[in-house]
């Protein structure tokens, strides 16, 4: 006695419509007709993402050897993966020392990059892109990570700490200015570029020390 609409009574036979029949031979080769390139033809994931480990390693070495001559062309492609990792690592080493200051690290990085971007655009003949500035400053943060790692175990507030901090600030700003000079062809102005970098890294050092 359930109410069944009269239309349903008529449709007792099963539906045999042929709206879609998948073709029986579905292989990757035939997928070429549907997609642009096959799975084998796709570029590797890292290349698609633009992460080139060899360049990252080259740039890291350039930062770590202060006397190594920088190649101006390595800064042509802006790579923000490395700097992001370095900022995170810096925050993590600060965390190990009991300072939860990721916000300060990111805020100071952003403001510092913006300031350096404006200054370098004003001082150089050719302009510079924001990504390039952020990339260089991020890479040169690496010695600061070593300093904050050191600060996890030893206190930096003695004379040795001051000397070490000053040395690391000098190292970071020297590397950054060296890369900027070679990339922007600003000979003779390395000190003028190094000083604002030193101020920026000095603020990072303040976070590490105190």
């Amino acid at each position: 006695s359930a109410f069944v609409p009269p239309e349903m009574m008529q449709q007792q036979q099963p539906y045999t419509g042929q709206i879609y029949q998948p073709s029986p031979a579905y292989t990757p080769a035939s997928a070429q007709s549907f997609y642009g390139s096959s799975f084998e033809d796709e570029p590797p994931l890292l290349e698609e993402l633009g992460i080139n480990f060899d360049h990252i390693w080259q740039k890291t070495l350039t930062v770590l050897h202060p006397l190594k001559v920088a190649d101006g062309s390595i800064m042509n492609e802006t790579d923000l993966a490395g700097p992001m990792v370095f900022c995170l690592a810096f925050g993590a080493t600060l965390l190990l020392a009991g300072k939860i200051q990721f916000g300060y690290v990111y805020g100071i990085s952003a403001i510092g990059c913006l300031g350096m971007f404006c200054l370098l655009n004003l001082m150089s003949m050719t302009g510079v892109s924001f990504g390039c500035v952020a990339s260089v400053l991020g890479y040169c943060l690496l010695p600061m990570i070593l300093l904050s790692t050191f600060a996890v175990v030893f206190s930096l507030q003695g004379v040795l700490g001051i000397i070490l901090t000053a040395g690391v600030i000098g190292w970071c700003s020297f590397s950054a200015s060296k890369i900027f000079i070679s990339a922007l062809a600003m000979e003779g102005q390395q000190l003028l570029v190094a000083y604002p970098c030193a101020l920026l890294y000095g603020v990072f050092a303040l976070i590490s020390v105190f």
Partner: protein, 313 residues
Amino acid sequence: GGSAVIDMENMDDTSGSSFEDMGEMHQRMKEEEEEEAEGEAGAAEEEDGEFLGMKGLRGQLGRQVADQMWQVGKRQASRAFSLYANIDILRPYFDVEPVQVRARLLESMIPVKMINFPQKIAGELYGPLMLVFTLVAILLHGMKTSDTIIREGTLMGTAIGTCFGYWLGVSAFIYFLAYLCNAQITMVQMLSLLGYGLFGHCITLFVTYNIHFHSLFYIFWLVVGGLSTLRMVAVLVSRTVGHTQRLILCGTLAALHMLFLLYLHFAYHKVVEGILDTLEGPNMPPFQRVARDIPVVSNAVLNTTTKTVALTL
């Protein structure tokens, strides 16, 4: 009446698609918008009736009009931005060599003797900007070493606000006074002069935030602060005619500059001298009453001892 009839002359058949009529339509839309803004409260319905003969189409046309307004507004804003935010106009002021900057830094501490003809002021902004940032860094360092707590705001914001506020604000004020007193100085020159005058402040604060003796600070305040103030005053005097004008201008500048240094020392580095010296001193003598004119260290130690004893009781 007339709401059932489509008023064709009000219905613009361009409807945003014809490029040539865009400006005219935009102008009319703007006028309509202004009228609407004025008569918002009362006459909204009447405006609608005037705008279009038919109310039903207003929604659709309104959307298109809004879209056009957005496009026009965006175009105007980008044009204004490219005109005013063009930092290339500042480019000549940053074209310096390191030797020049060093020479100007040293010159900023040497008062000129010749005030009979106008002294040259370098219209450069790199040195002053770096000095202001250095002052910010020194202030931050001072605040951190003395554990200064800023209740409303952040350390960084306070330091940047103070330093940039002084540099830009006092420059503008002195430029205004210079305009009143008929002095020959431009705004960029004033910014440059005051910026280089902060070199003395940087030296003084850097030394006295680390070596905590009040008498040392006063000596530095008078000598170093005084020298940089004298230099600025001499340059301004050489560019101003008339005794009263010179007095007003230079008196104001000298007062502001010296007082700023005093303010920076006392407001941003609360030195708890006793505790700092106690931590450095090897022997802490017990509670004892000593006369005030003994050396600073043991006096400070005495003060600390009494304070700690009072606190523990």
